[in-house]
């Protein structure tokens, strides 16, 4: 991997991380949608610099659509009943998870292989998706269909607005 790809990888990783941090701390549907879109943009850059151009385009489309859904102004605000203590325990668990994964990445012994694929790889990935692992692809397609039909059915019912001024 040359320096240009390496710079692209680190800049994209920083973009994805920044998007995630903004997603964690911004308020408002539109801002959170924009933060998720920024994460998707960074992730697409990471994939592109890892010679996964087809995956980068798929990620751009999917995360842009997810950001548009998340940014809708009319979806209902539902708050968890979990107390602050458990949320803090969850946040500490996330920190522990980061430590464990980073330790595993640092101490692991990985095989090294030369990459012979192209920069885009759409033909090879499509062959995998539709020939080698067709059942898995159909399962994910069915999952998406069921999820979107369920979401559309649930969306049809309007629910009363709840006032939550001053609460997070």
């Amino acid at each position: 991997m040359d320096s240009l790809h390496a710079i692209g990888f680190y800049v994209s990783a920083a973009l994805a991380g920044l998007g995630g941090i903004l997603l964690a701390f911004l308020r408002g549907h539109a801002r959170r949608g924009a933060a998720l879109a920024l994460t998707g943009l960074g992730l697409a850059g990471i994939y592109a610099s890892l010679s996964a151009g087809f995956a980068a385009i798929a990620v751009l489309v999917c995360y842009a659509a997810a950001a548009l859904v998340l940014a809708r102004p009319d979806h209902r605000t539902v708050e968890q009943v979990t107390g602050g203590l458990w949320r803090q325990v969850g946040a500490l668990g996330a920190a522990v998870l980061l430590g464990v994964l980073a330790y595993a990445a640092f101490r692991g012994t990985f095989a090294h292989a030369t990459f012979y694929g192209g920069a885009f790889g759409s033909v090879s990935v499509a062959r995998l998706l539709f020939a080698h692992d067709a059942l898995a692809t159909e399962a994910v397609g069915g999952l998406v269909l069921i999820a979107l039909v369920g979401a559309a059915a649930a969306w049809r019912r309007e629910r009363p607005r709840e006032d939550r001024e001053g609460r997070r």
Binding site: F9, L23, S49, L70, H75, R87, G117, A153, A154
Partner: protein
């Protein structure tokens, strides 16, 4: 300057932990839902990194395939979550 599998896995670990933090920390459910695509992003990064640096034989691009499927699953999950949260009636 170069990138190795260890660097890719560090980024993947960071994204996964950040997604877990968002899912645990946010009080609003649809905001917490936004953490799951970030976790999926971490998993997809690890898959794509292994496909790029360590896939030795057989189907070399299975990691990229998994990254594509994870992105689609992330979209489905956000759509389902927001749909289940429901539409707010106008005032």
């Amino acid at each position: 300057m170069s990138v190795s599998l260890v660097g890719v896995l560090f980024v993947a670990a960071g994204l996964t932990a950040l997604g877990a933090f968002i899912a645990a920390w946010k009080r609003e459910l649809t905001a917490a839902l936004g953490g799951l695509p970030v976790m999926f992003a971490g998993a997809g990064t690890a898959f794509a990194g292994v496909a790029r640096f360590s896939a030795a034989s057989g189907a070399l691009l299975i990691g990229q395939e998994m990254a594509v499927l994870l992105a689609i699953a992330a979209l489905a999950e956000v759509g389902l979550g927001v749909g289940l949260a429901g539409r707010e009636s106008p005032r």
